[in-house]
């Protein structure tokens, strides 16, 4: 069986096909949605691990769907960053799936509104699996039109998920989200048109070796970047994010904050640092860094001012995204692999920590019926594991050792100091200090039990609501300790074209 060989590149369609099929099956078998979804995310996680193993043994691979070679056909490929993003999605997705199960059964057990919650759950599973397939497709695709399609799948399923809670605020927020997301995709599509017009190629590897650097390519890159920035919610294009993330159901918030924005960021980063690296000017990098710095500060200031827990966590996402962009201007002082490592560490740590934080916030919301920060004194007495998860995730957001975010910040600071760009140092430190304030403003309330405090006895209690969040928080905290492995995987870098296309470039 040639197909089952370990070094067969066609394995890399598994993380796309399996969630997609499972999503369709969820529509067909509405009784067994959780079982289908759980097995799909499990297979997805295993596939991610398998692809990592394959990458380590056989090196990066390309796979042409249907046997059609580029530039005609559509290609997928694996390399270090892609498989790490797959792993991030796999792990976070698995935990979120378990949490979503606990979340919906808690809501359904809740007397009153049972129908509504069952309805929500019915739509949640297929949409989530569709989104997962889209994300995996985004990480693996090597064709820019194919990437556009995955962006659309992600955008539409994410906006629908955000609308699930059905409350007016959520509907409005998700509508805005949908419009921004569509606008972003259309701008991206326009960029593709320019690109195809000026070079006639869509395959990323082929584009990369293109020497042409005319106005067409630049315009295309500018348009695609703006579209992706809108989807990534970089300040000042972040307006849609906080309401959409804060008003969604908790598992949805976790998905949106942890995974969806990482998808468009990943694509943007890949375009800037691999495909069009030669067209990028220092000024452009500095602009991105400046916007990133703005995001760090503005997001953190807003997060400190919020009175509602979920809004605070959403603004913290705006802030944390900024660190990813501050890596841009420092790329001139470091080589590509090092910038990749900053971005990957930051993205993975943030994905785990932020989903853990949204899950904790959701659990607290479920049990107390509100998330007003000032009324959340003594939550620890009722939900100790949740508070622990929240605290550990907060430590990661602050970038304290040994979290993955610490590694990323260490590298950022190190290069900022080495290249004498001390203003980035100030921004990063200020961002971390503000993160400390907004994290501890909440934690100090949670853990304090004043004298004479009577803890609320909770009727329902589900382990699935607490432990996945704690597991993710611990992963984010201990990510720094496995840094050598991640770097090892990352170092299996990008494809050497001469290996893949023995006949040379077309």
């Amino acid at each position: 069986m040639i197909f089952l060989n370990v070094d067969n590149p066609s394995w890399m369609i598994t993380p796309i096909i399996v969630p997609l099929t499972a999503g369709l099956l969820c529509f067909l078998f509405q009784r067994k949605t959780f079982a289908i979804a759980l097995s799909a995310v499990l297979v997805n996680l295993l596939a991610a691990c398998f692809l990592i193993g394959q990458l380590l043994t056989c090196g990066p691979m390309r796979y042409s769907m249907g046997g059609w070679q580029a530039p005609l056909g559509i290609t997928l490929r694996t390399d270090g960053p892609a498989v790490l993003m797959l792993l991030m999605t796999g792990v976070t997705g698995f935990a979120i799936t378990l949490y979503a199960r606990g979340y919906f059964s808690f809501r359904i057990d809740d007397p009153g509104g049972t129908d509504r919650h069952q309805q929500q759950q019915r739509y949640f599973w297929p949409l989530w699996l569709l989104l997962l397939a889209g994300l995996n497709g985004l990480f693996l695709s090597n064709d820019i039109f194919n990437l556009y399609i995955t962006l659309e799948i992600i955008g539409i399923s994410a906006a629908s998920l955000a609308a699930l809670s059905g409350k007016p605020a959520a509907r409005l927020a998700s509508f805005r989200y949908l419009l921004s997301s569509l606008l972003g995709s259309l701008t991206f599509l326009l960029g593709i048109v320019f690109l195809y017009k000026s070079c006639g190629l869509l395959d990323l590897d082929l584009l990369r070796n293109l020497t042409e650097n005319g106005p067409g390519v630049r315009a295309a890159l500018a348009l695609m970047s703006v579209g992706l920035l809108l989807k990534t919610a970089l300040v000042p294009m972040h307006f849609w994010l906080p309401p959409a993330h804060a008003n969604a159901l908790a598992p949805v918030s976790a998905i949106l904050s942890a995974l969806v924005i990482k998808g468009s960021f990943y694509l943007l980063f890949r375009l800037w640092f691999e495909v069009f690296a030669s067209s990028i000017t220092t000024e452009a990098l500095n602009v991105m860094g400046g916007l990133g710095a703005g995001a760090i500060l503005w997001g953190a200031i807003q997060a400190m001012r919020q009175h509602r827990l979920k809004l605070m966590v959403a603004y913290s996402t705006v802030s944390q995204l900024g660190y990813l962009f501050v890596a841009f201007p420092l790329s001139r002082a470091a080589d590509n692999a090092q910038v990749w490592s900053i971005v990957i560490f930051m993205a993975m740590a943030h994905a785990c920590a932020k989903s853990a934080m949204f899950m904790s916030a959701g659990t607290i919301f479920l049990h107390f019926g509100h998330d007003r920060i000032q009324d959340l004194t003594g939550v620890r007495a009722s939900l100790p594991i949740t508070v622990l998860a929240y605290g550990i995730a907060g430590v990661t957001l602050m970038g304290l050792p040994p979290s993955g975010a610490f590694i990323a910040k260490w590298l950022l600071l190190s290069w900022a100091l080495a290249s004498c760009q001390w203003w980035w140092v100030l921004v990063i430190i200020a961002g971390s200090a503000m993160a400390m304030i907004y994290v501890f403003r909440v934690i100090s309330r949670f853990i304090v039990i004043p004298e004479g405090f009577s803890s609320q006895k909770l009727e329902f209690h589900s382990r699935l609501l607490e432990w996945p969040a704690l597991a993710l928080a611990l992963i984010s905290l201990l990510l720094g300790l496995v840094a050598p492995w991640l770097l090892h995987i990352l170092a299996k870098g990008s494809i050497d074209l001469t290996q893949i296309l023995p006949g040379g470039l077309p």
């Binding site: 490592s341 050792p401 260490w410 200090a433 004043p450």
Partner: protein, 498 residues
């Protein structure tokens, strides 16, 4: 993994595992919690003693764990870490006994003792850290694990104190982080070693390295409570007495002082610092802190606040000793004070806690004649206070003697004067308390007398201060013996080849 590495890991685990189990224990499992705590503490002490012997016999205890190129975690047991680890683990055992007695019947004990164990794990981590990155890791964790203890009471006042503590500690941590990264950019990864980095860098990057030294001291000075970075410490007094004892004598302030020692001796090294000419700066800050702490202590009526200012003053003796790094006698005085100050200060805090817990006395003005009601507690307090003043044969005398000899050898007459003034000031604020307690007449009934029993207070509250007070006397009297803090410090100084 050889037995040395296994030993290092089990030293850390011996308090981490009980801590994690205790978090999960229901509130009412009082006995099991106490047994876990005490077993952990005893096991830890035995393991550390084995490590001490191993270090003395010349074994290397080292675990390396690379993270990213240039950044690795390194646990390393050297004579200096043995000093701090032994001190922390012994005092942790006593503080645990004390805390069990102190918190009897109070709520949230699982939470308290869980963080208590984590805190000591982290402190031992600081002791064993073998490079700046590892030190930084445990240093930040120390803030995280002590914060819940500081705000344990949950009052507005304690929350405010906790907030200030966090802001101070993390700002210090951020400055420290920048300094560490910068240093690493200039001289490459440095492990703690007896000589510091290569003197070649001092010639080529003199100004930058001097600046980094200042940043490092600023960053670490927050925890060591150097003036003007000391603001959090007097406020943190709202924490329960065992926590204060832990903060002052074992963990936080001590970790800061230990960090200064590491930076001076192991990162920069005597030779580089003399070339850079930054030592007078450290000496100056230390002198100001010593005098300022004592002067502020004079004005206090709240006993615990007085002790806090006294800590600020006393811990700077360590920094002072380090600023005379070329004088072996001064280094001995500074290092041995790390242990001696811990013993004396923990005694004083235990006694202050006893007064507050048994009689409800928080203020010095209420202490008239208290020695007749609690003679043993006040005897221990007296020994601790006399030690702080530096009266022989207590350990305080030994520290000051060596510091004085060191400053004489350095030709620094004015430092000797500072030491004398400081002792005088110590006398000025401690002696009135002693006189009041022993010879004053009780004017009114005690504010809240909670306990009347066979002893003057609960046995678990009484024993720890008696043991530490006895040690304060004994370690001073037999300072020249084969096994004493002083002997070990001499061994350290020999290892450094000073």
């Amino acid at each position: 993994m050889n037995w040395e590495q296994l030993l290092l890991v089990s030293i850390l685990l011996s308090s981490l595992i009980p801590g994690i189990i205790i978090f999960g224990l229901p509130e009412e499992r009082h006995r099991l919690r106490t047994i876990l705590n005490l077993c952990g503490a005893v096991v830890k002490i035995s393991l550390i003693v084995i490590m001490d012997i191993g270090i003395y016999l010349g074994h290397t205890f080292e675990i390396r764990m690379p993270l990213i190129p240039g950044v690795e975690l390194l646990l390393n047991g050297d004579p200096l870490s043995a000093l701090f680890a032994t001190l922390s683990s012994v005092l942790w055992l006593l503080t645990t006994i004390y805390a069990v007695g102190y918190l009897e019947d109070s709520p949230n004990r699982s939470h308290f003792f869980g963080y208590f164990s984590l805190c000591v794990t982290v402190t031992i981590g600081i002791a064993l850290a073998g490079n700046l990155v590892t030190f930084l890791l445990f240093y930040e964790m120390l803030t995280l694990t002590t914060y819940p203890l500081v705000i344990h009471r949950g009052t507005d006042k304690s929350l405010r104190a906790g907030r200030n503590y966090l802001i101070y500690a993390f700002s210090g941590g951020a400055v420290f982080l920048i300094a560490v990264i910068w240093l690493q950019n200039v001289v490459g990864p440095v492990d703690f070693s007896a000589t510091g980095f290569s003197p070649g860098f001092t010639d080529s990057h003199g100004t930058v390295l001097a600046l980094i030294f200042v940043l490092l001291i600023l960053g670490i000075g927050v925890k060591a409570a150097l003036v003007p970075l000391h603001g959090w410490l007097p406020q943190a007094m709202v924490a329960p007495a065992p926590v204060s004892a832990l903060l002052h004598a074992v963990a936080v302030v001590k970790a800061g002082a230990f960090g200064i020692v590491r930076i001076v001796l192991d990162v920069y090294g005597a030779q580089n610092l003399l070339l850079l000419g930054v030592l007078p700066l450290l000496g100056g800050i230390a002198t100001i802190t010593i005098l300022y702490g004592s002067l502020r202590a004079l004005q206090q009526d709240n006993l615990k606040r007085l002790l806090a200012f006294s800590t600020i003053s006393q811990v700077s003796y360590i920094a002072l000793g380090m600023s005379l790094v070329d004088q072996p006698l001064a280094v001995i005085g500074g290092l041995v004070h790390l242990v001696h100050q811990g013993l004396m200060k923990i005694t004083l805090f235990f006694c202050a806690g006893n007064l507050a817990e048994t009689l409800g006395i928080h203020h010095i003005s209420k202490m008239n004649g208290v020695a007749r009601r609690m003679p043993l507690t006040m005897a221990a307090f007296t020994i601790g206070a006399l030690g702080m003043i530096g009266i022989p044969p207590t350990v305080g005398f030994v520290s000051k003697w060596y510091l004085g000899l060191g400053s004489l050898a350095a030709g620094n007459w004015w430092l000797l004067g500072i030491l004398a003034i400081s002792s005088l000031l110590n006398g000025c604020y401690f002696l009135p308390i002693l006189i009041r307690a022993w010879f004053g007449k009780q004017q009114e009934s005690w504010p809240e007398e909670l306990y009347v029993g066979r002893f003057e207070t609960r046995l678990m509250l009484l024993l720890p201060p008696l043991i530490t007070a006895f040690t304060v006397m004994a370690a001073g009297a037999v300072a020249n013996a084969q096994i004493s803090p002083l002997a070990w410090v001499r061994f350290i100084v020999r290892e450094y080849g000073l």
